[in-house]
Symmetry: C2
DNA sequence: TGCGTTCCATATCGAGTGATAATAGTATGG
DNA sequence: CCATACTATTATCACTCGATATGGAACGCA
């Protein structure tokens, strides 16, 4: 098994606020789960990365699976924080586009969420059932009804709501999750300008009439 | 150890032609690697799935990593078999579209390849380096030059070659790899008609002027 | 200061990991 | 029909996995 980068080792005496340790563990878990999948991620490496000891994971969270769910839920909460404003007033093209930009901006800063979702998306599991029921289905419904409203008022490209959902999650967000591969294939510059350019690309597919020229 | 009786003890698995066992192992490895990732897949489960014993993996392939590479290479060969015809004479829209249909048809029948690629795409590793250098980069170049030729003759949507590449691999092929998740979100029918409908969706994005109306 | 709760640190468990050595068995060419 | 080359099977190695037990250290509160 190949481990890329060294991580801070567990310290000795000084004590942290427990919430701080829990957050550090969740941060570390997001990185490890996103890199190696649920089965491939190890609680010892997660603890090491957080500067803690492995049994502390079972103390603060009940088990590895509970840690995984807490990690996913926390990432979704962080995303919701970025989308809260004007996501439900999505009857106008401007509001919808703005929500998409926020979503893609979040995906570029926290690619771990889309990585984890995609790792689970490919094979049935109780984790996938939980993920869809708890987090993905509500989002999917919101996007669907917002797109239906836009289409009803004659806006937007000739795409179904499900096609839009897949464009957003696969073409849109995976661009950032797959950055390690894409940077080996393309001359991709990772950073804010490239992220906005990709958002432009997505919006051009959804609203071809409105958006300016290519690139 | 007691070995008293030369009981007929029928060998558990009647002997196969070695190439057959190797192929069975590669089939099983594709499924396991695609489901659980490299770290999460176990050589014992792969062997079990192939009706073999775990040490036979190290006998026929040198190691788990060699097995992984052989698995990936075999899937790419199977894909090349489907694309061989007229993939290089891609100067016409018809040939290009036909190649895309073949690619997506293969992806729907063998989603394991795109699953494995996507598992590796998200974090740097020696496997990702090998995967890009050996298999992905040549394909990426072919698609890039074919699209450039089409665009030079005024065909195709206003997309860069890299955007087309991501549309094909992310939006196009991942539709089938992520079937377990999408079937929980959408009312998706998995089958040949649905696969062709998705191919239509991709081609409509690439050639909006040519393709017929939406759904 | 002293007590009680909360949290950390160490040791360890049984199960599972990939890999190898050694043996047992089968198929094939001379 | 046997000698030889292959392949299958068993046993086992050192290691890592997630989880738990236990004792002690650090804290809040009196």
């Amino acid at each position: 098994m190949e481990r890329s980068n060294a991580v801070p080792t567990a310290r000795r005496h000084p004590r942290r606020r427990p919430e701080h340790l829990a957050e550090d563990l969740l941060d570390a878990a997001a990185i490890e789960f996103a890199s190696h999948g649920y089965d491939g991620a190890s609680t010892r490496r997660i603890a090491d990365r957080a500067g803690a000891h492995q049994p502390q994971i079972n103390y603060h969270f009940r088990s590895k699976e509970h840690l995984w769910r807490a990690t996913v839920s926390r990432l979704f909460e962080m995303m919701a924080l970025q989308l809260r404003r004007q996501v439900d007033e999505g009857s106008s093209v401007g509001a919808f586009s703005d929500a998409i930009r926020r979503f893609l901006r979040f995906s570029s800063v926290h690619p771990e969420l889309n990585r984890i979702i995609n790792l689970e998306a490919t094979s049935p599991s109780s984790r996938l059932d939980w993920l869809v029921a708890t987090h993905l289905d509500p989002l999917h419904r919101m996007v669907g009804s917002a797109w239906a409203a836009l289409r009803a008022s004659g806006e937007g490209a000739d795409l179904t709501a499900d096609e839009v959902w897949e464009l957003l999650t696969s073409y849109g967000a995976l661009h950032f999750a797959n950055a390690p591969m894409l940077s080996r294939l393309q001359t991709s510059a990772d950073g804010d300008p490239a992220a906005e350019a990709h958002a432009d690309s997505v919006l051009r597919l959804l609203f071809p009439a409105r958006m300016p020229g290519p690139r």
